[in-house]
Symmetry: C2
Subunit: 212 residues, 2 copies
């Protein structure tokens, strides 16, 4: 792998390419061109080739990419060849929804423990997953080899949850709470803003009206 | 507004810029430079200027952008100067979480009605929002002026939910179900893949290990 800095947008697109390749593979398609990928995910063929070029030479001129090979490569690039154990903070509505979300396990992410401060939730289970007290976070991170943290608490509690994860040694955090938080420099933080997708939609709906 | 096609990535970044500008405005900051914006959202200053240039000339050389003005412009570009009424399909865990999610209303998206096929849920309320039968969708879309649809049903039910929304006249749909769906060409569809964010995280965590 080249040591060149890969843009985050490229990584995001790799996750999209991998979904298309999974679908193609499921249909028994053996090879795809950069144009096939591009058309299906809504970018240019040149962008597909540029994104993949960061990680080496995968395709064959005139033939394209072998679906299974390219999928394997992308999964390896994204670190998806192993299971990542996840600590979920928050057993409220959003936490429950995330605990039940089928899309995580399918991609190798397993929520192994849920943490909350509410005594009425601690000791219960969501699906098969135990809900623990926040006081047990440090211990469970080690015991269950938890590597990633998901914050699904109310906005006011998000920063505190983030520090608790950092103190417990978690190096990668996703924040679903609708508030910006900060973490130590050696921790990778991403924010999921559920409203942002709606905004892209309303922009496009307006555009349609202008065209009409 | 120019009629030039604006890349979707630009629109996504505008939503991120607007969040930074809101925070700056809340702190009483009057002007920001493209470098300020860039540093805070993790892109280059040139990218910020390029993104904004699609929509006209906003900044003043040597001074930068007036926070309140730029925020107003971006909100207008994104179609956020009015309230968008939303139909939420699915009153399960994810639907409940989305119904309670504070980030939507804050951005002008109001979930006005929830629809489900489960008789035990129909007629109940989530927060202040009524849960209706899917059979009532067409009628309620007109009555409540619902413009956007959110699909939060299990994967197997996602496509059916999408067609129901399309038939009811909804032109913008967000799919939270972990399955690809199709809609008519005149409908704008976006998919939120909650696992995709985790993949960008694991990619970066691997990178860190390489650096160490």
């Amino acid at each position: 792998m080249k040591t060149m800095k890969v843009p985050e947008a490229t990584i995001s697109r790799l996750t999209i390419y991998s979904r298309f390749l999974e679908q193609a593979d499921a249909k028994g398609i053996l090879t795809v061109s950069s144009t096939d990928i591009a058309k299906n995910v809504g970018v240019t063929p040149a962008q597909v080739r540029k994104d993949l070029a960061y990680f080496g030479e995968f395709g064959t001129r005139g033939i394209g990419y072998t679906v299974k090979d390219l999928l394997k490569h992308i999964r390896k690039i994204l670190g998806l060849t192993k299971i990542w154990n996840v600590a979920l903070i928050g057993a409220g509505n959003l936490g429950r929804a995330l605990a039940h979300y089928k899309g995580f396990a399918k991609r190798g992410f397993e929520i192994k423990a849920i943490f909350d401060v509410d005594p009425s939730k601690i000791g219960s289970k969501i699906g098969n997953i135990n809900v623990y007290s926040m006081d047990e976070l440090n211990e469970k991170v080690k015991e269950l080899d938890l590597r990633l943290g998901i914050i699904a608490v109310p906005a006011v509690a998000a920063q505190e949850a983030a520090w608790a994860l950092v103190k417990a040694g978690i190096k990668g955090i996703i924040n679903f709470a609708p508030r910006s938080i900060i973490v130590d420099e050696n921790v990778i933080l991403r924010r999921v803003d559920l409203a942002a997708e709606l905004e892209v939609l309303t922009y496009n709906l307006q555009e349609c009206k202008i065209d009409a």
